[in-house]
Amino acid sequence: MSESGRVGIVLVSHSAQVAESVAELARGLAGGGTDVPVAAAGGTEGGGLGTSAELIAAAAASVDRGAGVAVLTDLGSAVLTVKALLAEGDELPAGTRLVDAPFVEGAVAAVVTAAAGADLAAVEAAATEAYGYRKA
């Protein structure tokens, strides 16, 4: 698959630092020089804790390469805002999907899988599968 066909990944957190750091972690664990488009949408536009529909929409548009966009969220309003934007129909690029996954582990799995050239369904499956890894 060409670079232009990579699945895009959007990471939505209540905190800008959390979203950015998880994006950096996922890119790093995927092998550094990966060309997977990953964008963080954390916090509010004013830099506070919360969720911004504007930042989410901009992040999704920035990673859309025509192969779909997988959105991972932390909790509460992040989940609800993405769902509400998807229901609007025209706020997010076509082929955008909210992925049900643990935020950190799911992000790593999604970026690694997308870097291998997988399609949106495979990226989603890999991220969701991260729920299955028990730690104790």
């Binding site: 509010t44 509460g76 609800l80 805002t81 769902k83 609007e88």
Partner: protein
């Protein structure tokens, strides 16, 4: 019959009352939430009022769709997508009609509340906005004043409930004894509706 002007008055009245009650909503949100409900909704409904003033839509449905979009994009907390979904689904149910009756509004609001329950996964008794909205929508068949009273009763009735949704649910039994901020703001929305109707 209720026209676009009625719906604009409803949203404007909501903005005024949310502005007036913002401190109380945030105070209610302090012990069981993250103390931002009042300021979040204040920002959202201020944006709604400004958008409706700038370009007044011509139908009831269009007024609610524009309001919904503003709430989803400006609130910054869970109440944005929840109230946005309530108004968006209600507006869609009203379609392109230039005027709607109270019964039609009641049916449309019921669809809106159903959408809120689907989005948030909340059921009656979970100590959420649903506990004010659902009885209000059911009472709207009797009149606007009845709907306002039912919403107020519903909000008061959340005090002894244990929260099962949202951040307050992490508190378990410690959420008991506090009135739910979301149910309280929903009562404001219904009071504004009665105000717009002159009741």
């Amino acid at each position: 019959m209720l026209d676009a002007d009625f719906f604009r008055r409803w949203m404007a009245a909501t903005a005024v009352s949310v502005d007036r009650e913002a401190d109380r909503l945030t105070a209610l949100d302090s012990p069981i939430g993250d103390a931002d409900h009042g300021s979040n909704l204040q920002r959202g409904f201020t944006a709604v009022a400004a958008a409706l003033e700038k370009e007044p839509p011509g139908t009831p449905g269009a007024v609610l769709l524009l309001a919904a979009r503003q709430l989803i994009s400006t609130v910054g907390g869970a109440s944005g997508p929840l109230y946005g979904t309530l108004l968006r689904r209600t507006g869609k149910a009203l379609g392109d009609a230039a005027e709607v009756g109270r019964e039609e509004l009641a049916a449309a609001l019921r669809a809106g509340v159903d959408a809120v329950m689907t989005l948030g996964g909340a059921a009656p008794g979970d100590k959420t906005m649903v506990d004010a909205l659902l009885p209000a929508v059911e009472a709207l068949g009797e009149g606007f004043a009845a709907a306002r009273a039912a919403a107020e009763q519903g909000a008061l009735a959340t005090t002894p409930m244990q929260a099962r949704k949202g951040r307050a649910s992490y508190l378990g039994e410690r959420s008991i004894g506090h009135q739910d901020p979301g149910a309280t703001s929903s009562a404001l929305l219904l009071a504004a509706l009665a105000e717009a109707a002159g009741e």
